[in-house]
């Protein structure tokens, strides 16, 4: 119905309907008009220019685009921006303090050398921040940590240090409480 109507659109003009969305991103209110098919990941990167959220596979496998949506980590490539209307979003840009002081999870990645090229890192950090905020006394066995990290891929194959960074993150966050 919508698509057949759109086929008559003159060249050079977007046939996409526009939907008004407003949400809070990293504590700031943003309002835009977007196409319903705009992925939340593209909204964050292209509309808001917050390019710390990376896009790897665009079908939910790699975890690079993980952000926190209404207090729960989620894939921003598996959500449309319109679905986030009214939501509160946190991206990697909000994780360190304004003065540059690293979040304990970022600090742990630094100390443990939990990254190499860094492409997957924002996704790992957001998944771990969400998990540890939700689970202050996590099971720190190798298996349990790998279970939590299983939704994020690192193609530099640096998992050993990422597991160490998870353990260190939990320590640092416990210390900070």
């Amino acid at each position: 119905m919508a698509r057949s109507a759109a086929r008559g659109t003159p060249l050079g003009q977007s046939p996409d309907p526009r939907v008004a969305v407003s949400m809070t991103v990293n504590g700031e209110r943003v309002e835009r008009e977007v196409s319903p098919r705009m992925l939340l990941s593209d909204f964050i990167r292209h509309e808001l220019r917050l390019t710390g959220t990376h896009v790897g596979c665009e079908h939910g496998v790699c975890g690079c685009c993980t952000v926190i949506i209404d207090g729960k980590a989620g894939r921003s490539c598996l959500a449309f921006a319109v679905q986030a209307d009214g939501a509160s979003i946190r991206t990697i840009e909000s994780v360190a303090d304004a003065d540059g002081t690293l979040h304990p999870v970022q600090q742990a990645f630094r100390e443990c050398h939990g990254l190499q090229c860094g492409y997957c890192t924002p996704g790992f950090v957001m998944s771990i921040v969400d998990y540890l905020e939700d689970t202050p006394d996590p099971d720190l066995s190798e298996d349990a940590i790998r279970e939590v990290l299983s939704g994020n891929l690192c193609r530099c194959t640096g998992y050993k240090n990422i597991v160490a960074a998870f353990r260190r993150s939990a320590e640092l966050m416990r210390g900070a409480r």
Binding site: P17, P36, R75
Partner: protein, 289 residues
């Protein structure tokens, strides 16, 4: 890739959603989007309109009521997994949910979405068939309850008709003297299962008085392993009876060779998983007795 163009609606009520769905047979409900959005990103699916159910509060509730767990279609998988009352009523549910993808996916993925999507390799449809659960489908002016065994027809094909919306999933509580187990084999942690088996075993005096077995990933829909069940009925869940059940499961693995596994390998998996899950379920049945 990016999805094809579609129109978007986010109604506040089931009635409003039904009206849109009934007016356009290419419209699709959007629940958690964890299966639908990737298929749209690949342009395998191209609905004309997405009817986003997120504003319909009535669909986002669940409760244990007597011997049934009523789960609103929009209940997030992770919420159900972590609910203590649900765990007590039927611990199988959390075990099954723990096998679905990853925590971050389960944070957004919904129970109703997974069941309506009806991937033949998916865990929740298999569990619903094994437990003898059902779904509630609403349409303008009415609703019907569909038993799990009648609901799943084929890969991504269900008994839902145009204009019908799955609003609730009903999962029976774990019966007394019954043990449970779900196990799957996947190439990578979190992938869809090459094969998975869900087992419920009820024991009395060491003998199986009820057995329910269902498999996912091995056929065109989640499948009850009836022959394997009858091999165990009236017998202890071990030795010769278990060997016969495990062997009978092979016949149900009808999926053809694909990139991930050969048909033979899937038959072996179905067989091995029946042995493992029945053993585990029987062990738990004894612990509960």
């Amino acid at each position: 890739m990016k999805p094809a163009l579609f129109a978007y609606a986010a109604p506040q009520s089931v009635e409003e959603a039904l009206e849109i769905l009934a007016s356009d047979e290419m419209a699709r409900p959007l629940a958690g989007g964890q299966s639908l959005i990737p298929t749209m990103n690949f342009r395998i699916a191209a609905p004309s309109t997405l009817v986003d159910l997120r504003r319909i509060g009535a669909l986002n509730a669940h409760a244990v009521e007597g011997d049934v767990i009523r789960v609103g279609a929009m209940t997030r998988q992770r919420n159900l997994e972590r609910d203590g009352a649900v765990q007590r009523a039927n611990p199988l549910i959390a075990e099954v949910l723990g096998n679905i993808a990853h925590i971050v996916i389960r944070n957004r993925g919904t129970v109703g979405g997974s069941i309506a999507h009806a991937d033949a390799a998916a865990e929740l449809p298999c569990m619903l068939v094994a437990t003898g659960g059902s779904v509630v489908a609403r349409r303008a002016g009415g609703e019907r309850t569909i038993a799990a065994e009648d609901f799943f027809h084929f890969h991504m094909t269900t008994a839902l008709e145009v204009g019908e919306l799955l609003t609730e999933v009903r999962i029976p509580a774990l019966p007394p003297r019954t043990g449970y187990a779900f196990q799957e084999v996947a190439r990578r942690h979190g992938d869809y299962a090459l094969a998975g088996v869900c087992a419920l075993v009820t024991l009395k005096d060491g003998v199986c008085t009820a057995v329910s077995l269902a498999a996912c990933g091995v056929a065109s829909k989640p499948t009850r392993l009836a022959e394997a069940e009858s091999a165990l009925l009236g017998a202890p869940p071990e030795g010769e009876a278990l060997a016969r059940a495990s062997d009978a499961a092979r016949e149900y693995a009808t999926a053809a060779d694909d990139r991930q596994a050969s048909a033979d390998y899937r038959r072996d998996l179905a067989s091995a998983l029946v042995r493992r899950t029945v053993t585990k379920a029987a062990e738990r049945a004894r612990e509960r007795a």
